[in-house]
Structures are given as C-alpha cells and as structure tokens.
C-alpha cells in the first residue's frame, strides 16, 4: 500500500523522521518496504495485518510504537458515532448477519458537489488515487486514512416510501444484473451479497466490492446516503474473485475488518463532507446485529523469554505494551492484555510474544547454541540409498539431472497449469531422460564428452501410487528405471552416512547458447621428441601430451581468434620421422550465430600459420 509521509504527519505533533528512516524502521519492526520514492513508501502489509494496517492510521500507529513517539492524534482513540437505533426517514434491514455484521447509513442533505480542495486532491494523488469530486474523494480519503471503506449514494435516485428510505442487504438473485460505476454490467450469483433499495428492489451496489451506476453521485446531487458497513471477508473475497473485480474496498473487506471501525468511518466521513461540500447532517441508522467480543490474552515475562530466548524484564514488556497502546493489567507477573478492537490478529499468547519480539527488536535476541541432542540421530535409509546410488553411477561416468515431473501423458493431471501444457504427472522418468540424452548428444563437441550418460532420482506416479525411482539413460544403452526401494533392499541399515564429495566449483560460468561450428584439422609435424627419448613410440594415445601436441595446439589457438572455444586432439599416429595430429576445433560466439564464412576465415589463419612453420596440412 502506498503511504505518504506528509499524510502520516497529521497523526503526530512531533516531526517524523525522513521517508527512508521510516522505511528502515518499518522494515526491521513491522513490514517489508517495496520502495521509497520521495515522500511515498510502498508498504507490503502482511496478510495477518490487513485488519488494521491497510491505512495511514495503521502505519502511523506502528511507527509510534516502533519509534516510541506519542501517537497524539489517533482518530480511533475516541468513540465514533453514537449508535442510533431509530431514524425517522431511514431504515436498514440485514437479511443475514453472518454476512453483514453491521451497516450504518447516514443522510446528509443540501450538499454542493464540486472539485475537492487542493489538500485533498494532493493527498489522494500522492498515493496514486484519482480525484473525482468532493463527495467521492471524502469517502476515499476516509478509507485510506483509517481503513474503513465508505460509499455514497445519491438519495434522489433511491425511492422513498412515505418519505422513508429503506436500504437492504441481501444475497443477490441468480443472474441479477448491476451496472457498476465504471459502466460495466455484472451478472451476479446468489452467493453474492448486494446492497439494495428495498422500496424499488433495485441493486445499489455489490456489497463491499463496487457501487452501482443507478445511485451514482454526480454534479446535480444534493442529498446523499452514506454507507459505512462491515461485510463478511469470505463473501466479499468470493464475489470479487468470481466477478474478477478487485477494488480498494474489496481488498480491505477480504482481510476482515472490525465492525467497530464502521462507526469511526461514518463519523469522519460526515465531518469531512460537511466541511468540504457543505450541507446538513440529518440522521443515521446503525444496524449492528453481531457485535465484536472483547478478548483478553494472558502472558508472563517468563513465557515470552522462553519463546524468544531472551531475558527481558517485566518492565520492558510493560513498556512495549504501552508503546503499542495495548490496554493491560499486570497481576502477579501475569499481563492480561485486551487487544485494541482493530487488532483482530491478536488471539493467543504467541501473538503477544511476536509483538514484544518485533517492537523491542529481534536484534536483541542473542544466538544460543542448540542443546546437545540427547538421542542417536536417525539415519534416513532412503536418503542413504539415494546417495549411494548417486556415487555408484557418477563413478562410472553418469551425470545427474533433474527433469520436470510434468509430462504429456500419465495417470494423473493437474487442472490449473499456467499455459495448460504438459499437465500430467509423469508415470516414468524415461521420456524426460531420453529427451535429455538427445539434447545433450547434440552438444557433445562443445561438452568434450565421448558419450552422454545420465541418471535421475525422482518421483513418478504409476499404478495408483507415488514412488521414487532411479532412471538411467545413455546414447549407447536402453533407458531403464528401478524403484529406489529395490536398491535400498540390497543395502544394510546404515548407522551413519558416507562422506561423499560435494561440488568443489567456486563459480558458475554462463555458457553460450548460440549454435557452434565444428572443424577438424589434420597435419604432419616432424617428430621432435625422437632425438630425445627413444621409448616414446610405444606411448599410448593422449597420455601424456607430448611437447609437439602442446606446441601444435598452441599454434592453433594463437591463430584461431576469439571464436575458438574448444580444441581436442582426437587422433595421433607416427609414420617414419613424422607425426600426424588431428584436432577437432569448436567455434562459437556468445553473442550471435556464427556463419560458415567466419569459421572458414579462422581456419585459413590457422592453415597459414601452420604452413609458415613448415608443417604439412593433410
């Protein structure tokens, strides 16, 4: 959520630190900060704090606790509207209190709709909102200020019966239609909650999601009915998902709000409208069938310290709860905390431990070694076996791969794969392995391997069950697979693990992905070693590299240019005083596809250098 520093300043008498300092404080004690741009912070409110922190007030409250500065102008500190159960010209009926625990409607007459004052427009625009008119902006401001979504209906567009308006909250009928403020038409399901004009039985809004066009506030509006309600989070979430319509309001209701918040929203919104649009507040109706219950959570300093591994004193915990503005009583070492109404995330002692941990700071927790494990550590037979198989296969030249478990055939499939390709869970490793062998075989020259041999240890879904199998595939063998269990059965129960080697590689080097070109060169070179060592003739292929081989290779490399990426001797024989060498050269660019012309040019350079030495190209 975008949070403006000047906006936050409204809640404090003292000057707030700069935006970056606030970002750092929030990062270490509350929320991750996505970005800081000038005076605007993008705060990543966690899913457990949507109840109270999707608002400037919520973030301000956090900062007051973290920075230990007085939260002098908390809009939730004093009570909201007095609860009116009777209004002469306004009625509210809630069909199902489970889905709507509270609905406050208020009537304001004689307003003048027009542009918002500069401060309001600036505030809204600074956090990425569009200014519409003073009424809509006021409702929006209240939501971004304290977190309560608000809505305004043009009263003249509702039907009054005997001078009385009647708002209803009920489930929509299947296929009931509504045109929303953005001009789109939605067809509702009976699980969607609707706000309706009971007198005309027309839908005014998709509850908690979006208002309808039929009662839109426009320039001609003089009287408005304001809504401050509490809709069920799950119902709003389902409606929003089904209609593919996410709004700032639905986002907040989904997180579940306290019904207590509604009265503060209404109080603030009435006040703001009267201030910027004039008019007169007439009356309000507060239908509140399901009241929020107050809870008390008990915790002691020793419990906190046991979980955190700290040695916090009682007075430090006392101070932290005070900074957080939590009402509490301390009796015989037990803190009995009554969480503020908007903190619906606080339910069990561990929740309070987290509050203490994060506000006093996790950096205060010292590292403490784990106590010695009092039992023998179990050795996992499957892991032991897999490691054994890995080592066996690697020692005979197989390399390990992991391939996707998704396949184009199998017994089971996922229903919601992005793109929809290969939705099946593989019934065998062999297709993936065979494909991998073919792919790698094309790269043999650049890899410098004589034969591609691969294995994978992975899960398959076959004959109704999931099991781990070992699959083997290579260029010169039929691919095969066996359950890991088969290997395990052959092995003894291990007392400990073998000490197999780990990778010694320091850094990975990205490889070129463009096609390579292979050229061979064969040439006659006088046998220089002959005069030195007589036994050399019997020397076996490649071991060790002779001085001529190294010299020839050097001449090739020095004259081939940057595109030569690999040289390999693949043939050597002697005839009389001369030695024949055949090298395979691989050319590749990391930036583009090479042309034959480029490879030819490099070869010409090599031929020339070789001939200059008096060597003979075969």
């Amino acid at each position: 959520m975008l949070i403006s520093r000047p906006w936050l300043q409204n809640f404090f008498d003292v000057t707030l630190p700069d935006a970056q300092a606030m970002a750092d404080a929030l990062t270490l004690h509350a929320f991750e900060i996505e970005s800081v741009k000038g005076e605007i912070l993008d705060v990543n409110v966690t899913a457990n704090r949507g109840h109270d922190c999707l608002s400037h007030r919520g973030i301000a409250k956090e900062l007051s606790a973290i920075l230990n500065i007085s939260f002098s102008k908390d809009p939730l500190a004093k009570k909201g509207t007095s609860e009116l159960q009777k209004a002469d010209n306004l009625a509210v009926s809630i069909e199902n209190p489970i889905l709507c625990s509270r609905y406050i409607a208020a009537y304001i007459g004689g307003i003048k709709v027009g542009p918002s004052p500069d401060w309001l427009r600036t505030d809204l625009e600074s956090v990425g909102q569009k200014s519409i008119n003073n009424i809509v902006d006021a409702a929006n401001f209240v939501m971004l200020n304290i977190g309560q979504p608000m809505h305004a209906f043009d009263a003249s567009k509702l039907t009054a019966k005997d001078g009385r308006f009647h708002i209803g909250i009920r489930n929509a009928k299947t296929n009931e239609k509504i045109e929303t403020l953005d001009g789109k038409t939605y067809s509702l399901a009976d699980s969607n909650l609707a706000v309706v004009d009971r007198n005309s039985n027309t839908i005014l809004a998709i509850a908690g999601v979006k208002g309808g066009k039929s009662a839109e506030v426009d320039e001609s509006t003089t009287d408005v009915i304001l809504e401050s309600a509490n809709f069920d989070g799950i119902a709003v979430r389902k409606a929003s998902q089904a209609l593919k319509l996410r709004t700032d309001a639905s986002l907040r209701f989904e997180q579940i709000l306290s019904p207590m918040l509604a009265e503060f929203g209404m109080r603030d919104c009435i006040k703001l409208i009267l201030k910027i649009a004039g008019g007169e507040y007439k009356e309000s109706m507060d239908e509140y069938p399901r009241r929020q219950k107050e809870i008390t959570i008990s915790i002691t300093a020793s419990e906190v310290n046991r979980t955190l591994g700290t040695e916090l004193k009682e007075q430090e915990i006392f101070a932290t709860f005070t900074r957080l503005g939590f009402p509490f009583e301390l009796n015989n070492e037990t803190f009995a905390v009554t969480p503020p109404f908007e903190r619906l995330d606080l339910n069990i002692p561990a929740d309070l431990t987290e509050e203490i941990g994060r506000i006093s700071g996790y950096q205060k927790i010292a590292e403490m070694a784990l106590p010695t494990f009092p039992k023998a550590v179990d050795t996992n037979k499957n892991f032991y076996t897999a490691e054994h198989v890995r080592e066996q296969l690697i020692s005979v030249g197989y390399s390990e791969v992991y391939t996707s478990i998704f396949s184009d055939k199998g017994e089971r499939a996922v229903i919601n794969k992005v793109g929809g390709e290969r939705p099946y869970l593989r019934a065998s490793l062999l297709d993936g392995l065979t494909e991998a062998v073919e792919k790698n075989a094309r790269n043999k020259d650049i890899l410098g391997v004589r034969e591609v041999k691969l294995f994978e240890i992975g899960s398959i879904w076959d004959a109704g069950k999931e099991q781990v199998v070992v699959g083997i595939a290579g260029e010169n063998e039929e691919p095969s697979e066996l359950p890991l269990q088969k290997y395990a059965n052959e092995l003894p129960t291990p007392a400990s693990y073998e000490n197999y080697p780990i990778s010694k590689t320091e850094r990975y080097r990205p490889f070129a992905r463009f096609p390579f070109i292979v050229r061979d060169i064969a040439l006659w070179v006088p046998d220089l070693s002959k005069s030195e060592a007589i036994g050399d003739k019997s020397q076996s292929f490649r071991v060790p590299a002779t001085s001529e081989e190294r010299e020839v290779e050097k001449v090739i490399k020095d004259n081939a240019g940057d595109l030569l990426v690999r040289t390999e001797l693949f043939d050597r024989f002697e005839k009389g005083p001369k030695v024949s060498f055949a090298f395979r050269l691989v050319f590749q660019s990391s930036e583009r596809t090479l042309t034959d012309k480029e490879a030819n040019a490099a070869m010409e350079n090599i031929y020339k250098a070789v001939r200059d030495r008096g060597w003979e190209v075969r």
Partner: protein, 248 residues
C-alpha cells in the same frame, strides 16, 4: 572412465545434511502429491483465507483435496505425527529437503517446480535464540568455510507472517569478505522464512503445545544455489543440460 557430475542441488542437500546431522537433525520426507489437510489445514492455513492465495497451488484433476505440495512444511506435521504414533516424544530435529510446486509463469527467477529445504526443532527448551544460532551456523558453514578468513556472515530477523509460525520472521544474510561475488558482498539478502512453530501446528501433530515449542525454517534451494555459485537462470536446474551440470 571420467567421473560423471553431481547436480548442484544434490550437492547442496548433501552439504546441508552433513552440517545439520552434526547438530542432531535427521532427514524427514513426505509425498509430493499431498492432501490439502497436510499442505494447508494442519498448518493453520484455513480455507477461504487470503493466506491460501499466497501460494498458487496446483490442484489435481478428479481428486478433490489433493494438491502438489507448495512447500516442505507438510512434512513437519507428518514427521511429528509419526513420531508421536511410535510413542517417541520430543525433542525432535529434522530437515526436509525436497521438491515443491507453485503454479506460476516461469522466468529467470521463477520456476513452477523447485527445491526447498525445511528445518524443524522441537523441545521443551527451544527458542528463537536457538533458531538464530542454527541458521547462522548453517550459512557460515555453507558460505564462509571455503572462503578466506576475511569472510564474515551475519543474519538479521525481520517480522513477517506465515500461518504456521508465530512469531514469524524473514531471515536476511549479509556476507562480507574479499572473495565474495559483488552481487552478494555487503548486502542484506533475503534468504528464508522462519519462526516459532505455531501452537496449532503442534496440536495438529498430536504434540503437547503447552509443554513443547519449536522453531522451523524453510528456504528455496535453487535460490541458494544461484547465490552460492552465481548462477544466472533458475531454469537451468531442471534443464538437464550438461553445459550446466558438468560445471559442478
């Protein structure tokens, strides 16, 4: 015959196991095709809760209630449950390496299937101070041991939210030293999620949540491999490309 090559993920798991085994951690395991109970409900992620949206889940056709596990955390429950059934009370210590799945589009830093490693320690006397030690120890062994003595490893905990831990934290690591790749050097890097096991998770596993507490952590092994070796594309892990694997 030249030796073949070990996949870097397997190398990391081998190394992690060696480090944790010495601290008393065993290896626990569970199925990749998991029930919603183990993957979500037992981990204190209620149905229709926004927290379930945090992880885009693959659901299985014609098998309601089955998912490809989105994390290795269900094995926490499975492991504790199996110990309790055998009559073995805590302390427990286990690591859980294995494949997990998220239903999202893939790019250089995102894969639909990747590897996690989870750690769990439960006992009467386990606190966040032990968590801090354990994670620091692991990173020191992993990042500082092979490098010069000038290398130092620090971690910091930041508040976060996971339904299955309370308190929940994000763990950042900072490596300083000469031989550290520039991308890593001196910067706080988000490494894993962790926290104290939520009492409901202990209860759902049959463990006395009054008597015992525990810590848990979980992190992506692919990402760890990327940082460790400077690998530029997470999709290489499942590429089966020897131009990649033969470098390890």
């Amino acid at each position: 015959m030249p030796r073949g090559h070990l996949h870097p993920i397997s190398s990391l798991i081998r190394e992690a196991n060696a480090i944790f085994y010495k601290l008393g951690f065993t290896i626990a395991e569970g199925p990749l095709l998991e029930s919603e109970w183990y993957n979500f409900d037992a981990l204190n992620v209620p149905k229709d809760h926004p927290a379930r949206d945090m992880q885009d889940t693959f659901f299985i056709k014609d098998e309601p209630g089955s998912v490809l596990r989105t994390h290795t955390s269900p094995v926490q429950i499975r492991y504790m449950e199996s110990q309790m059934k055998k009559g073995i009370l805590p302390p427990y210590r286990a690591i859980i390496p294995g494949k997990v799945f998220r239903n999202e589009a893939t790019d250089m830093t995102h894969e639909a299937e990747f590897f996690h490693i989870e750690g769990l320690a439960v006992g009467e006397d386990i606190g966040m101070a032990n968590l801090k030690f354990t994670i620091t120890h692991f990173f020191k062994e992993l990042f500082a041991k092979k490098n010069s003595s000038a290398t130092s490893i620090e971690i910091r905990l930041r508040p976060s939210f996971f339904p299955f831990t309370e308190p929940s934290v994000e763990v950042d690591m900072r490596v300083t030293g000469e031989n550290i790749p520039e991308k890593l050097r001196g910067k706080w890097i988000e490494m894993m999620g962790a926290g104290m096991v939520h009492p409901n998770v202990l209860k759902n596993s049959g463990v006395d949540a009054e008597k015992y507490r525990g810590f848990a952590f979980g992190m992506g092994l692919d990402r760890l491999a990327l940082l460790r070796w400077g690998i530029d594309d997470i999709r290489l892990m499942h590429s089966a490309d020897l131009r990649f694997i033969n470098q390890f």
